[in-house]
C-alpha cells in the first residue's frame, strides 16, 4: 500500500471532523476524496500530509509510519486550494524552491536544478513564463505552476486540495483531462479532494465518499454509480428520484413496472435515465403529466408531474437522448406513461 490510514480520528472542539477512518490506497492510484463541505475530506488530506495532527490513529506512507514525522520530512507534494505560490518569487524560483532548501550535502548543483526546473515547466507547458511572478499569471497557469513546484521534490505521494475549485468552468474541464493524463504519465500515487462528484467521477480511478467524518463507500467510479452502498451515496453521486413507500407510492410504482413485493427497503432511488416515457394512448389511466424539459447537450431532461389518487403532486425527472425525445412528439401538458427499468432500494 502506498498510503495507509489507520483508525484516524480528529476533533475540533466538540465537532468531530473525522471519526475512526481507515483507508488503504494502492500504488499508482488517482484517488478522489469526495464529500459535501464539512465532511472532513480536507482535514484527512492535511493529516496525511502532516499539516494537521490526528487525535488518534496512524498514517503510513510506503509502509513507513509517519504519524510523528513533520511535514517537511514526509516526502509529499501538496497542492494548495489557492495554490499558495510564493508571491515574491518568479515562477522559476517557485519551482526551484524545494530543490534549493535541501541540506547542502543533498543539494544539486545550480545547473542541474535549472535543468530540472525547466524540464518540469515544460511538463506543465509553461516554460515560457519562467521569469514571471505569480500575480501575473491566470488561475489555470498558477494551478499548473503549483503542481510543478510540488513535483520538483519528487514526492512519493501527491496530495491536491480542491485542485480545480477556484477555476472557471471551461479551464476546469481542460485541467481535469490534463491532470489525468499527467498522472498516467508520472504514475505517482495521488489523492485529490473535491466536493464535485462529476469531477471525481471524471478524473479519479478510485473514489472515496465521505460524509460526517466517515467513509460511506470506496470504489471505482462505475461501481459507486451503479451500486451505491447507501442512500447518501446514491443521492450524492449523480441525479436520482426518491420514492418513499410510506407515502403511498407502492401502487403507482407497480403500475410503472417496478415490483415492490420482494424488496428489502422502503425507499426506492431511480436514476433519471432508468425512466422510460411513452405517450399515453387513449383509454389508459395515467397520473403523469409532462411539465417541461431542458436541453443538457446530448440529453434532454424531462420534468414530469405525478398527481392523482396516489397522493400529492410530486416532480419526477427523466432523461433520454435528444433524437429519442423528438420522435415522441410530446408537448407540455401531455399525459404520459412511465416505465421504471431499475431502482436501488434503501431502508
Amino acid at each position: 500500500m502506498s498510503i495507509s490510514v489507520n483508525h484516524i480520528s480528529k476533533h475540533f472542539g466538540a465537532f468531530t471532523a473525522l471519526d475512526n477512518i481507515s483507508l488503504d490506497i494502492p500504488e499508482g492510484e488517482l484517488v478522489a476524496l469526495l464529500g459535501p463541505s464539512g465532511c472532513g475530506k480536507t482535514t484527512l488530506l492535511r493529516i496525511i500530509a502532516g499539516l494537521e495532527q490526528a487525535d488518534q490513529g496512524d498514517v503510513f506512507l510506503k509502509g513507513d509510519k509517519v504519524t510523528d514525522k513533520p511535514v517537511k520530512n514526509r516526502q509529499i507534494g501538496f497542492v494548495f486550494q489557492h495554490y499558495a505560490l510564493f508571491r515574491h518569487m518568479t515562477v522559476f524560483d517557485n519551482v526551484a524552491f524545494g530543490l534549493k532548501v535541501k541540506p547542502r550535502r543533498e543539494r544539486l548543483s545550480n545547473e542541474v536544478i535549472a535543468k530540472k526546473v525547466h524540464a518540469l515547466l515544460e511538463l506543465v507547458q509553461l516554460d515560457w513564463l519562467h521569469d514571471r511572478y505569480p500575480d501575473q499569471l491566470s488561475g489555470g497557469q498558477r494551478q499548473r505552476i503549483a503542481l510543478a513546484r510540488a513535483l520538483a521534490v519528487e514526492p512519493s505521494v501527491l496530495l491536491l486540495d480542491e485542485p480545480f475549485g477556484a477555476l472557471d468552468a471551461s479551464v476546469r474541464k481542460d485541467l481535469r483531462q490534463w491532470l489525468r493524463n499527467l498522472h498516467h504519465d508520472l504514475n505517482v500515487t495521488s489523492i485529490f479532494v473535491t466536493h464535485d462528484q462529476e469531477e471525481a467521477m471524471e478524473v479519479a480511478s478510485q473514489v472515496v465518499v465521505l460524509n460526517h467524518g466517515r467513509i460511506e463507500q470506496q470504489g471505482a467510479p462505475g461501481d459507486i454509480y451503479d451500486h451505491p452502498a447507501n442512500a447518501f451515496v446514491s443521492r450524492f453521486i449523480g441525479q436520482t428520484n426518491v420514492f418513499d413507500l410510506d407515502e403511498h407510492d407502492a401502487d403507482w410504482l407497480q403500475t410503472a413496472g417496478l415490483s415492490t413485493a420482494q424488496q428489502k427497503g422502503k425507499i426506492a432511488h431511480v436514476r433519471p435515465h432508468d425512466i422510460v416515457i411513452e405517450k399515453s394512448t387513449a383509454g389508459t389511466d395515467t397520473f403523469v403529466t409532462l411539465k417541461d424539459w431542458q436541453h443538457l447537450g446530448s440529453l434532454i431532461r424531462i420534468e414530469l408531474v405525478k398527481s392523482g389518487a396516489s397522493g400529492q403532486a410530486a416532480s419526477v425527472y427523466a432523461e433520454m437522448p435528444n433524437d429519442q425525445f423528438r420522435r415522441l412528439h410530446l408537448n407540455r401538458g401531455d399525459k404520459v406513461e412511465l416505465r421504471i427499468r431499475h431502482a436501488h432500494w434503501f431502508h
Partner: protein, 299 residues
C-alpha cells in the same frame, strides 16, 4: 481678477486650461463629489502645507548664499545635524527590529493580556512627548532605576548622552513600525508557510525565504516613518539628551535657540536644510521600497 496661487502669480492661460481639465475630469468621472473633494484637497494643501513652507523658503531668501552657507558650515550646527540624523537612523533601525518582533507576537501568538498589550503600543502616539521625555530621563539617568543598573554593570551612561537620544527616539518610533507591519502580517497567507514546509524547508528557511521578503516592504515603510518622526522629535528628546553643544544637541533645539536669540533667518536656514535633507532621505527610502517591491514581484 488675477488668480493667485501660493503667493505666486500664475499664467492666466495655464490656469484656465487647468480649470478646464478639472471640469472635464469632473464630467467624465462616475464618482460623485470630485469637485468639492479636489477643491478641499487643494485648499488644505495650500493653507497647511505649501504656504507655511513657502514662507520659510522666502524668509531664508533674506540671507545671501554666503551667509546661508556660513550658518550651515558652523561646527556646532554640523554636529547637531550629525546627532539628529544619526540618532534617528539608529533608533529607526532598532525600532524596526523590535517592532517586527512585537508585531509578530501580537499577530501570531495568543497570550493573556494581549489586548491590553496591543493598546499599550499606541501610548507613545497619545502621550505628551514632554511627559515621555521626563519619564525616560528619570528612569535612565545615572541614579535612576534602570540607569543605575546599567551604570553599575556595564559602566554605560544612557541619559544626558547621545545614547539617551536614541532611547527616546526608539520609544517614539516603535508604534509606527508595529502599526505598519501588523496588518500586512495579518493578511499574510499562512498557506505559503505550509507550502514551504511541504517542500522540505525548515522553519527558519520558511521565515527567511518566504515570510520576511513579503513583510520587508511594510517594515521599510515603518522604519521610514519612525525615522521621519525621529528627526523632528523635540519634546521627548530634550529632557534626556543633556543638550551639550557638539555632543548631544539636536537640530530642533538649535532652531529654538536661534529663535530665542531673535535670529529668525538663521533658524529658517537650518529648518529649510532639514526639510530638504528629510525630503531627500524619504525619496531615497521610497526608491528603496520600490526596488524591494519590484524585486519581489509586488509591482
Amino acid at each position: 481678477m488675477r488668480p493667485w496661487v501660493n503667493g505666486f502669480s500664475v499664467n492666466p492661460i495655464f490656469y484656465s486650461v487647468y480649470l478646464q481639465k478639472i471640469t472635464d475630469m469632473a464630467q467624465s468621472n462616475i464618482m460623485p463629489g470630485f469637485r468639492p473633494a479636489i477643491s478641499f484637497t487643494l485648499v488644505y494643501l495650500a493653507l497647511i502645507v505649501l504656504i507655511p513652507l513657502s514662507a520659510m523658503l522666502l524668509k531664508t531668501f533674506e540671507l545671501s548664499f554666503d551667509e546661508y552657507w556660513a550658518i550651515l558650515t558652523n561646527a556646532r550646527v554640523q554636529a547637531s545635524f550629525r546627532i539628529s540624523f544619526g540618532a534617528a537612523l539608529i533608533a529607526a533601525f532598532v525600532a524596526g527590529v523590535f517592532g517586527f518582533i512585537i508585531a509578530w507576537s501580537l499577530v501570531r501568538y495568543n497570550f493573556p493580556g494581549k489586548r491590553l498589550f496591543d493598546a499599550l503600543i499606541d501610548l507613545p502616539f497619545a502621550l505628551p512627548t514632554a511627559v515621555a521625555g521626563i519619564v525616560l530621563a528619570t528612569i535612565y539617568e545615572p541614579r535612576g532605576w534602570i540607569g543605575k543598573i546599567v551604570m553599575d554593570t556595564l559602566d554605560v551612561q544612557i541619559a544626558y548622552k547621545p545614547l539617551g537620544i536614541v532611547f527616546a527616539l526608539i520609544f517614539i518610533g516603535l508604534p509606527f513600525v508595529v502599526r505598519t507591519i501588523e496588518p500586512v502580517l495579518q493578511e499574510f497567507d499562512t498557506a505559503m508557510e505550509e507550502a514551504a514546509a511541504s517542500l522540505g524547508a525548515t522553519r527558519w528557511q520558511a521565515f527567511v525565504k518566504v515570510i520576511l521578503p513579503n513583510i520587508l516592504p511594510a517594515t521599510i515603510t515603518g522604519v521610514a516613518l519612525a525615522f521621519a518622526r525621529g528627526v523632528g522629535e523635540y519634546g521627548s528628546v530634550i529632557f534626556i539628551a543633556g543638550n551639550m553643544p557638539y555632543i548631544s544637541e539636536i537640530v530642533p533645539l538649535l532652531i529654538i535657540t536661534k529663535l530665542e536669540q531673535y535670529d529668525y533667518a538663521g533658524a529658517t536656514a537650518i529648518g529649510l536644510t532639514m526639510l530638504i535633507l528629510s525630503f531627500l532621505l524619504l525619496l531615497l527610502i521610497n526608491g528603496l521600497q520600490w526596488w524591494v517591491r519590484r524585486r519581489s514581484g509586488q509591482l
